[in-house]
Structures are given as structure tokens and as C-alpha cells.
Symmetry: C2
Subunit: 504 residues, 2 copies
């Protein structure tokens, strides 16, 4: 890059691959504040942070098998110098499993860690679907106690409040997979591998309750369903009696935890696994209630099933419940921002035996969208820095000192470091959304004063005053202050735009 080449190369294209994006300015700060708020909650609960590299052996990530010639589907893979296949992590659970298995005996158990960072999916991107996105996970490894699951539910609720969600804006729903398995056993669908396919069909059907409603799910549990376009989806093949029983399970919520659990106990009948599931769910309900988390925050909800095979016991899901407008212009509930549950197969691939574990994963990008939706009514709080204009290049140290003084008193400020004139500098300040501009020309310097331009007030006035000339004469958005009052006067200007001040 140092020297000019004789041959002029073709210009490179300044673009990102599809499914990737830059994040800039206030959006980055919002992201960091959100991550930091979640971290504080998890820290307070005694969880410790882990950071693992983005690159792992494909073998350690599991699930995907490398071809010899090309990277495997779903992950970004590549070969190391020794021909071993590496890949970018596709979630934070697989690296946790590798880490736990690699130092299993040395770890204090239960091992409770949280981790946040980008994960990568080599999939077709779409609107709002990126190939790099951020997750925030917390897991307890090495304990079968329901107290660990209850703790994660409470942490989710606390984390959502820490990032600014009011009580009532969110709900953490809890269910237990064993109960559904028990219900299915009680209606004659075999446990274990025999009934596996039918069980998956039932899970898939219930998972669509939000979208299709109870009638749609009924069809999918039975013979199948024809959608508006005429496409037919094969059903799980349950009889009407069986369907009624499954729907009764799905509908068993909405009451006090005790009443819901009693109803579920009826539904599972004598199924051992079902009874166990209800007892686990009851224990979580008791623990969260005892800790002061009422049903307005953590709710027993049998309609939560969370995806397919993976989970073995409690499952949880955190939802933002306030209304938003979707792409079709319909008013809908914002929806899920986090989920998780209990799983036992975590380190089995490495050490050959099941280790009980439970975890949650927050979809940070989705949560940020939710936070933005919630805040969209509020006015723009985040300004750019105060800009000190450079009127006279020989006096740079004077301008620099002004910026330093402002910063020393906690005001974000910069001296303009470009080489352009006054007009361009004001335009720059405007583009930066600077609330205030500090000006010291020769005249001001002679008199020991400064001119402060209130750009925010200026832009409000510009919208309301008809003739720009009138405005220029009056200059209500511009004041002259003694040089030694710089900090106080700038702070006064900033204060008059603070929302709480306006509210008075």
C-alpha cells in the first residue's frame, strides 16, 4: 500500500457479502449497554463469564460432517494447514460442551457460566436474517436440580427488566417436555424411538399454535391441513379423542400454577414420565413464586414446546408482549427473544456419558429490535458531541483547551480536526447532530467572549419561523458568553433539551 503501482489495478468493490452488516454510532452503544445490563444480572447470580474463540475444530462442534472438497452446509468451514477441518461456531452451546469436556474434573460443579458473542450460519440470508448475529447464553452444567432451571427463568426476567422492559412488557413461559410425553403415552403413543415420528409431528403442530390458532393445530394433529394457497400438510394422524386430549394439554394453562399443575396431572394419568414432569414443573413454580416472581413474570404455559428433539425436561421461552406492527401492517405481539431448557447430551460426545445441564439463549439482535420498538415513541435522546469550531488555525491550542475543559467536566466534546472553513464546519456539526457549537473568532477573542450556537433550538426554530431572514436577524439560538463561563453555559444549553426538563 505504501507505493503507487505502475499498473493501475481494477478498483475493488466496497461491499459486504450478503447477510452481513455494519453497525455504527448509537446502535453500537445501545448494543453494548444491553449486553452490559444482562451481564450485570448474570454476574450478580454468581455466574462467571467465558469467552471462547470463533474458530473450533468441526469435530468438536459436532452435528456437521465435512466433505473433502467443500465446506459443509450450514457452517463456514475451512481446512487448517494440517488438513483438519475448522469452522466458525454456529452457537455458544457447542463451544461450552467442548470446554466443559476438556476440563471436566477441574471444574467446580455445578459449572455456571455465561457467554456472549457473534455466531455464524452459512445459510441463505433474508430480511432481518443475518449470517452473523449475537447470542447471550447462560448455562448450569452438572446439576439435575429444578432450582437451576428456576434460577434461569428468574435471571431471564431480571435481565429483561435490566435492559429497560417494564413489568408487563414481557413474560417468561415455562413448560416441561416430560408432560407432553406423558400425555402422549396416556393416549397410546409409544414412548422411546417407536413413537418418535408421531411425537415430532405433535410437537410441530403445537409449535404453530400462535400462527394457525386452535383449529389449524387440530387439523395438523389429525389428518392434515390445507392452507389458503391450497398446499396440503400431512397431519400427525391422531384420532379425534387423542386430538382432544392433546389440545386439553395445550390449553391447561391460564390458571394459578397449582391449578394448572393439578389439571396436567389429570391429563398424564398413570404415565410415570408424565407425573415426573408435572412434579418438576410444580417445583419450578414453587421456587419462582417463593422468590417473589408472580405469574405476571414467570408463567406456567403448557403450549410452550420449543423446537424439536433436543430438550429433555423443563423448557422456557421469554416473550415481549407489547404490540408492534408487522410487515403486513397487522398489530401483533412482538414475540420471543429468548429460549432454553434442560438437555443431557451436552458433553456425551466427548466423555461418553450424560451430564445434566440446563441453559438459556437470548437472541440479542432480536432483543435490540424489541428495545428499539419500545423506545420509538420517546424522543431522540442521543446527541452528537459539542463541536468547537476552528476559526483561526494559528489558535488551535485555544480551541483544543476548550474541548478539553468540556470533556473534563463530563461533556462529550471535540475540536474540529479537518481543514475546511466555517461554513463546512457548521455543516459537519449538523451532520454529527452536535447539540451546541462553540465559536471564537478574532472579535470574540478580543473581547474575551465566545459565541455558542444552540443547533437543536436552531433546527426547531428553522421549522417554525417563516422567513429565514427574520430568523438570522434575531439569532435567538445564539448567545455570547464570557470565555470563562464556557462549561456552565454549554451545560445550561444542553440541559434545556433534556426530556425531563421539558416535561416540567
Amino acid at each position: 500500500m505504501a507505493k503507487d503501482k505502475k499498473k493501475k489495478p481494477a478498483r475493488a468493490r466496497a461491499v459486504l457479502p450478503r447477510g452481513f452488516r455494519d453497525v455504527y454510532g448509537e446502535d453500537v452503544r445501545q448494543r453494548w449497554n444491553t449486553l452490559s445490563a444482562i451481564r450485570s444480572v448474570f454476574d450478580m447470580h454468581g455466574f462467571d463469564p467465558l469467552e471462547t474463540p470463533a474458530i473450533e475444530y468441526v469435530e468438536a462442534l459436532g452435528k456437521f460432517l465435512p466433505d473433502v472438497d467443500r465446506p459443509m452446509g450450514g457452517v463456514f468451514g475451512f481446512q487448517d494447514e494440517d488438513e483438519k477441518w475448522l469452522a466458525l461456531r454456529y452457537d455458544l452451546t457447542a463451544p461450552l460442551a467442548r470446554m466443559v469436556a476438556g476440563s471436566y474434573d477441574a471444574l467446580a460443579k455445578p459449572f455456571r457460566r455465561y457467554q456472549t458473542g457473534p455466531v455464524y450460519r452459512n445459510e441463505r440470508p433474508g430480511p432481518g436474517r443475518f449470517r452473523e448475529f449475537i447470542q447471550f447464553d447462560a448455562d448450569s452444567v452438572g446439576t439435575a436440580e429444578m432450582a437451576a432451571d428456576a434460577e434461569l427463568c428468574m435471571m431471564l426476567a431480571e435481565a429483561l427488566e435490566a435492559v429497560g422492559m417494564a413489568r408487563g412488557d414481557y413474560i417468561v413461559r415455562v413448560n416441561n417436555r416430560k408432560i407432553l410425553n406423558g400425555v402422549l403415552e396416556s393416549i397410546g403413543i409409544a414412548p422411546g424411538e417407536a413413537g418418535e415420528e408421531q411425537r415430532l409431528g405433535v410437537l410441530r403442530a403445537i409449535d404453530k399454535l400462535d400462527r394457525l390458532g386452535s383449529q389449524g393445530v387440530r387439523a395438523l394433529l389429525g389428518d392434515g391441513r390445507k392452507d389458503a394457497s391450497g398446499d396440503f400438510t400431512k397431519g400427525a394422524g391422531l384420532s379425534t379423542d387423542q386430538v382432544d386430549k392433546v389440545l386439553a394439554f395445550v390449553d391447561a394453562g391460564g390458571q394459578s400454577p397449582t391449578a394448572t399443575c393439578d389439571r396436567l396431572l389429570d391429563l398424564v394419568g398413570t404415565s410415570e414420565i408424565g407425573v415426573e414432569g408435572v412434579s418438576e414443573l410444580r417445583e419450578i413454580a414453587q421456587l419462582t413464586e417463593a422468590a417473589g416472581f408472580g405469574a405476571d413474570r414467570i408463567l406456567i404455559d403448557p403450549s410452550v414446546v420449543r423446537g424439536l428433539g433436543y430438550y429433555t425436561g423443563p423448557v422456557f421461552e421469554a416473550e415481549l408482549t407489547f404490540p408492534v406492527t408487522n410487515e403486513k401492517g397487522e398489530t401483533v405481539v412482538f414475540g420471543s427473544v429468548a429460549g432454553g431448557g434442560r438437555y443431557d447430551g451436552l458433553v456425551k460426545r466427548f466423555i461418553g456419558r450424560d451430564v445434566p445441564a440446563t441453559g438459556v439463549s437470548i437472541g440479542v439482535d432480536r432483543l435490540l429490535t424489541g428495545i428499539a420498538a419500545r423506545q420509538s415513541q420517546e424522543s431522540q435522546l442521543n446527541d452528537g458531541p459539542v463541536v468547537v469550531v476552528v476559526m483561526d488555525r494559528e489558535e488551535l491550542p485555544r480551541y483544543q483547551a476548550m474541548a478539553e475543559e468540556l470533556r473534563a467536566s463530563g461533556v462529550r466534546a471535540e475540536m474540529y480536526v479537518g481543514g475546511s472553513g466555517m461554513r463546512a464546519q457548521l455543516k459537519y456539526a449538523d451532520k454529527r447532530q452536535a447539540p451546541v457549537v462553540v465559536i471564537e473568532g478574532e472579535d470574540e477573542r478580543g473581547q474575551g467572549v465566545l459565541t455558542l450556537k444552540d443547533l437543536k433550538l436552531g433546527s426547531i426554530l428553522a421549522k417554525t419561523i417563516e422567513s429565514r431572514e427574520d430568523w438570522a436577524k434575531g439569532q435567538p439560538a445564539q448567545i455570547t458568553v464570557p470565555r470563562d463561563r464556557l462549561v456552565d453555559e454549554v451545560k445550561a444549553l444542553l440541559d434545556r433539551h433534556r426530556p425531563d426538563q421539558n416535561a416540567e
Copy 2:
């Protein structure tokens, strides 16, 4: 992962590829605190944060050319579905260039952004050399003003203080490439491409001043140098007179900025580029001095050359100056943790013309090593959480409430969520470095009291008291307190171990 396979697969190995590592617990917190402290400084100066994806088109990253069959050397590369080559970023400057070029006209200029994140090098790892490591960059794009360079030097100094370095523990050195070019011109080494190779030889020689001393550099500037092992390195081929002049340049520092600049002006003679360089350096010195940054923080130092071709004007380097012991047991200065300078070729590959820019890059992992070295004398400040022991599983809500109370008053605390007995729980608390353990057995519950074990005091006493039996009888590290005094008494125990309390 949901169901057991009939065929038992071979166990996966729980290892990371070479050159990668996990970071856990306090090390992660120290990393975050450091990043956050640097961020605050850059924010206050009006810089805005940018985050770009880890994956870019190889074409946009530049410098590397993909083979058709295998990833290119130095970077981790792989093909996208459309056969285009992607790669993991190897620094944060290339993505900045791509971003700036992609939205050049829309940006407020100077465009001042900071960015931190991992970068990837597909190189042979070594001790302390990783293939994934963290950088923290700040750049001003679109300004040729020395004020921008001066600002970066001041920001570096402030950032190092913000992460805990005392004044005197660090120094930011500044130089200007144009001066060396001027010196070389004045001794007859042609400017431009003609003298390029000799100029690079001189840069390489000066860069080794730290390691080889003035005699070694003299040899490398002249005919060449034979090292202790007998290996011979060819020299830059300068005459004795020329070597003297270059060494006079390197030695020109150590005086007041004005005196140093005057001496440099003598050395560059009539070289236009040299005179320009001295004037630029003088301007930076004036600006930083005027802002209150003395030579104890920002120092004009002609021996700083910063690597090879790349830079076109000012160059800077931040060093930690306190002594540490190296691998050979020698006492050495800790050394460089950040560097940067002015470069013009940034977006040329994309938009076809030079855009002036200047930037710094902090090596965060190296800085963290420096911070750890500086803190190693201090006592261990970071404890694990307070652990509430579960004596009686039926009473989980009681124990949970205790942990909640502690957290609500700002004490990091957890209830043990494993299934093990008392003994294992105390061992767990010990492994977690819990300062205090809270115990409520049946007896305590009956009397409305709790037992608090001060594990920190316990471990101190265990080292000093001879007979463990005597100790067990006395139990000085264990107190009984009323249930409703939980928070106050735990806080009192924590307080007595705070370093400032002990110092009184």
C-alpha cells in the same frame, strides 16, 4: 442429540486448534473493564463506535490474493456459495477502508470512528502469539491536519491512564517519517522508488535499536552484522559519514521538543520533505503541550519508525515503561502496546484517489498482559460469590430468598443448585473462592438464626494455627447471627477483607 444412536460413534476430542484459547472468569471481566475504559475516553473525544462483521470479501480486505484451490496464506479464507472468496478480517483498518469507501459521500468528514474486536491471522502460533486476538483502533479519515494526529496521541495517553496506568508507567512517542526521508535525501539517497530498497534497509536497522543497541544498528546501516550464532545479515550499505548522520537523527531526541525539532531541522538540511516533516512534528508538539500533555506523557522521539512502507507522515507508539522479567530472567522494560500513524492509501483501492487519514491501534491482549504485570503485586481483590448452602431440600425457597436478599443489596450471591451434600457444597464454595458461606440447618431454623462461615479468614487461620482440631473447637471464622441480620452481617464480613480496610 436428542436420542441415543444404536451405533456408538467414536468420541470427539475436546480440544481447540493450536493458537486459540478460552478466557474465563476474572480474566474476561478484566478484558471488558479495559475495553470499556478505553471506549469512554474515545467517546468523550467525540469518536463514534463502529462494528463490522468478522467476514469480508477477500477483494475488499485487499493485500491477499486467493488461489483457486486453497485459502490464501496469512488469512483464513473460504469460498461462498457463489464461489467468491471470503475471509476473516486480519485487522480493523481494512474493514474501515471498505466501510468508508462504501458510503464516502454520506459521511460527515473528518470521519472519526473507533472499533474493537477480534482479528484473525492464519500464521504459525507461538508462545503468547495467538491466531485470534483483540485490537482496539481509532482513526480520523478525511483530514490532513496535524490536530488529528495530536488528538490520537492524547487519546492514547488518556486511555492508558483510564485502564489504570499511572503517569510515569507509560510514554507515547511521536516521530515523522518525512524527517527520516529528508535525512536520507540530504545524504544522497534518492527519494521515491529509486532509493526505496535502501530506505527500507535503514528503517529495518533503526527498528532494531532496542534489541541491538547503537553498535548493532551501526553495523546494519553499513556493511552488515554477524550475530552471536555466526549468521550474517547484509547491511544497508551506507558509508561511515552517512551512518553518522542517520545515527545523529536517531539520537536527536531527549531534549525539549523545541530543541529536538531545531536539531532535526539541521539534519534534514534543504530537503523539502524533511523540512515539512519537522514542521509537522513541531505542530504536534505544540498542540499536545498546549493541552497540558508534557514530555512525561507525549515525547518527540526520532528513534520511532514503526515498521515498513505503510506510513506517510507522523508515526506514534505507546509503551509501558515499567520493568518486568522476561523469559530469560532479565529485567526489561515492558514495551509497546499500541502504535499508529498517518497513511493516505486507505480507500484508494476503492475510489481511486488518496484520502488523508491517521489512526492508532491498541494491542488489547498485550495491554492486558501489561495491566496484569502491574497489578501482580496487589492482593487478590476479586472474590467469588457468597454461597448459600442447601441443608434441607424441602426448604429451597428459604435459601433462595436469602440469595435474593443479598443480591438486592448489591452482594453477588448464589444458592447452591447442585444435588450434593454439605461437605461437597463447602468444597464447591471453596473452589468458587466464595468469601462467605451462609448456612441454615434445622437447629438454626428453629432458633431463627444463621451460621456464616468466613472462608477467607478460615483459609488464613488454617495456615497459621497448628492443630486443625484446636481450630475446629474455637471456630473463630464462623459466627451465628439472627436471620434478619443476614445482609448486614455478610456485608460486615466482606468489609473486613477489603484492602483499604486492612490498610487502616
